[in-house]
C-alpha cells in the first residue's frame, strides 16, 4: 500500500509506468526501486534461499545484504532494493544462485 497522506512529506512520484512481476502487470512510478514498487503491490517475497527454498524479502534496502535478489529481463542477482524500475521491465523471483550471462 502507498502512503497518501503524511504530516511532513509530499511524495512526488514520477510518471506512471507498467512493470511485470512473474508475468503479472503492475503499476509503478519512475524513480522508485523494484522493491518499493513490489511492496506497494503487496509483494514481499522476492526470492527463495539457495538450499532450503525459504522465502526471502529485502532486509536492508540499501544494497548491502543481498536478501532481495531478483531476475530482471533474464539477468540474475539484481538487487531489487537499489535498482530503479523501468517501463516494461520483467521481474521474477530468483530461485537458487542464478546463471551468469556468458559473453555479454
Amino acid at each position: 500500500m502507498r502512503i497518501t497522506e503524511h504530516p511532513i512529506l509530499d511524495f512526488e512520484r514520477g510518471p506512471e509506468i507498467t512493470i511485470y512481476f512473474e508475468g503479472r502487470a503492475l503499476r509503478a512510478y519512475e524513480g522508485e526501486t523494484i522493491a518499493a514498487a513490489l511492496h506497494a503491490a503487496g509483494i514481499k517475497v522476492l526470492s527463495y534461499s539457495h538450499r532450503l527454498g525459504r522465502p526471502r524479502g529485502f532486509f536492508c534496502a540499501v544494497g548491502n545484504c543481498a536478501s532481495c535478489l531478483v531476475e530482471v529481463d533474464g539477468e540474475a542477482n539484481v538487487r531489487a532494493c537499489i535498482t530503479p524500475v523501468r517501463d516494461g521491465m520483467r521481474i521474477s523471483r530468483q530461485r537458487g544462485k542464478g546463471d551468469l550471462r556468458v559473453g555479454t
Binding site: L9, A36, C65
Partner: protein, 364 residues
C-alpha cells in the same frame, strides 16, 4: 577494456560524510570523483525526516532530507566534482585502481591519487527463529520504504531496539499510519534520547525494557512474533512469553561499519565495539595507516550524521592539502576537531568517546 579515469580525489559513498568530503576537496582545489551505489545523492540522509540536534553550525533544527538537498545542490553545481551514481565499488587494487560496476555501463575503473572511504554502515541482524521471513526488516530499510518511496512497510509493527534509531523510526511509522504495537529493548534502560521516547509514549506505544523477541512465525511472511521478558543474565523468563499479531518486525539493534575497501587497501584495522566493530587506525585528519587513504563517517565508527559531515570535511580538506598545500589548513583542522569534540560532549556520546579514546591510546 574500459579506460581508467584518474581523478585527484575519489570519494566512495555520497552520504553526509562523502558529500562533505567531496565538497571540501573540490573547494580545496582538487578535481573529485564521487561514487555511490544508489541512484541519488544523500545516503541515509534522504530518509531522515526528523530534525537534527547540535549547534546551528551543524545544521541543527533542520531535517536530514533537507540537508541532503542542500549538499546535493552544491555538489551538482561544482564544476570540479564528477558524480558516478548507481555505481558499486567492488575492488581496490594494490596499484590504486578502484573497480566498480556502474549501472548500464558494466565495469568501470578509476585510479585516484587520494581516496576517501565514506561507505557508511550496515544494519545489524539479530538471531531468533524465523528471522529470515519477509517482514523482518532493518529500521533503516523501513525508513527508506516509507520516507523515500511513500510505501507502507506493514500495518502492525513490533520495534526491536529502543536506541535513537528505534525510537525515531517508531515515531515515523506512526506518522505514516502504521500501528506500532510495542517497542522492546533488551537492555535495562532506553538507549535513545528521552524526548524521542516521550513522543511515542504519548502516542500510546509501550516501551518495554528487558524484553526480546524469541521467534517470528508465518507462512511466507511475518504473521506474528513471540516476545518475552529477560532475566539479569539476558535469558528469557519462562512463562512471560506473549504472542503479538504483527506483520512487520523492525530491527533497530545497531550498525556496523562497512570497511571492505579499507581491508582491501591494507589499512590497519582494530576491533572497537564502542564504534560498532572493526575500524581503521587513523591520524588526527582521518588518514588511515595507508598513505593517501582517508576514512570518514560511519565507516570510521558508527556515530551520527552531524559528526559524519565534519569528519568528511576534515578528510576532504586533508586530501586537498596533500595535493596542494592550503594556507589556512592547520587552523581549519583545529576548528573542525573542536566542532567534533563539542558534538561528542553529550552523555549519549560517552560510548563513542570511550571507543575513540581506546583507539587513539592504542589499547585495542
Amino acid at each position: 577494456m574500459t579506460s581508467v579515469l584518474e581523478p585527484e580525489v575519489a570519494v566512495v559513498g555520497a552520504g553526509p560524510a562523502g558529500m562533505a568530503a567531496a565538497l571540501a576537496a573540490a573547494e580545496g582545489g582538487a578535481d573529485v570523483l564521487l561514487i555511490d551505489r544508489e541512484h541519488r545523492l544523500g545516503g541515509q540522509l534522504v530518509k531522515q525526516t526528523h530534525k537534527f540536534f547540535g549547534s546551528s553550525d551543524q545544521e541543527a533544527g533542520i531535517r536530514g532530507i533537507h540537508i541532503a538537498e542542500r549538499l546535493g545542490e552544491r555538489i551538482r553545481q561544482h564544476a570540479a566534482i564528477r558524480i558516478w551514481l548507481g555505481t558499486t565499488v567492488i575492488a581496490y587494487y594494490p596499484d590504486g585502481v578502484l573497480l566498480a560496476e556502474k549501472a548500464g555501463h558494466g565495469l568501470v575503473k578509476a585510479k585516484p591519487r587520494c581516496l576517501v572511504v565514506a561507505t557508511g554502515a550496515a544494519e545489524r541482524h539479530l538471531a531468533f527463529a524465523g528471522n529470515d521471513l519477509p517482514g523482518v526488516y532493518g529500521a533503516g530499510a523501513v525508513q527508506t520504504l516509507m520516507n523515500v518511496h511513500g510505501v507502507l512497510p506493514g500495518q502492525r509493527a513490533l520495534m526491536v531496539g529502543a536506541g535513537n534509531i528505534g525510537l525515531i523510526v517508531s515515531y515515523q511509522l506512526l506518522q505514516a499510519g502504521v500501528q506500532v504495537v510495542e517497542v522492546i529493548e533488551a537492555a535495562e534502560e532506553i538507549g535513545g534520547y528521552a524526548v524521542h521516547a516521550a513522543k511515542i509514549r504519548r502516542a500510546g506505544v509501550p516501551i518495554r525494557t528487558r524484553h526480546s523477541v524469541l521467534k517470528v512465525e508465518g507462512d511466507s511472511c511475518v504473521e506474528q512474533a513471540v516476545v518475552a521478558r529477560l532475566d539479569e543474565g539476558w535469558k528469557p523468563i519462562p512463562g512471560t512469553e506473549r504472542v503479538l499479531q504483527v506483520d512487520l518486525v523492525c530491527l533497530a539493534v545497531g550498525l556496523t561499519p562497512l570497511t571492505e575497501i579499507l581491508w582491501q587497501a591494507g589499512c590497519r584495522m582494530v576491533w572497537v565495539p564502542e564504534l560498532g566493530g572493526h575500524v581503521p587506525v587513523r591520524s588526527e585528519t582521518l588518514e588511515t595507516t595507508v598513505p593517501g587513504v582517508w576514512v570518514a563517517g560511519d565507516a570510521a565508527g558508527v556515530e551520527e550524521a552531524s559528526t559524519a559531515m565534519i569528519e568528511g570535511e576534515l578528510a576532504g580538506l586533508a586530501a586537498a592539502h596533500r595535493l596542494r598545500p592550503l594556507k589556512e589548513f592547520d587552523e581549519r583542522c583545529r576548528q573542525l576537531r573542536q566542532a567534533l569534540a563539542e558534538l561528542r560532549a553529550g552523555p549519549l556520546a560517552a560510548k563513542v568517546r570511550r571507543g575513540l579514546a581506546r583507539l587513539e591510546g592504542g589499547t585495542c
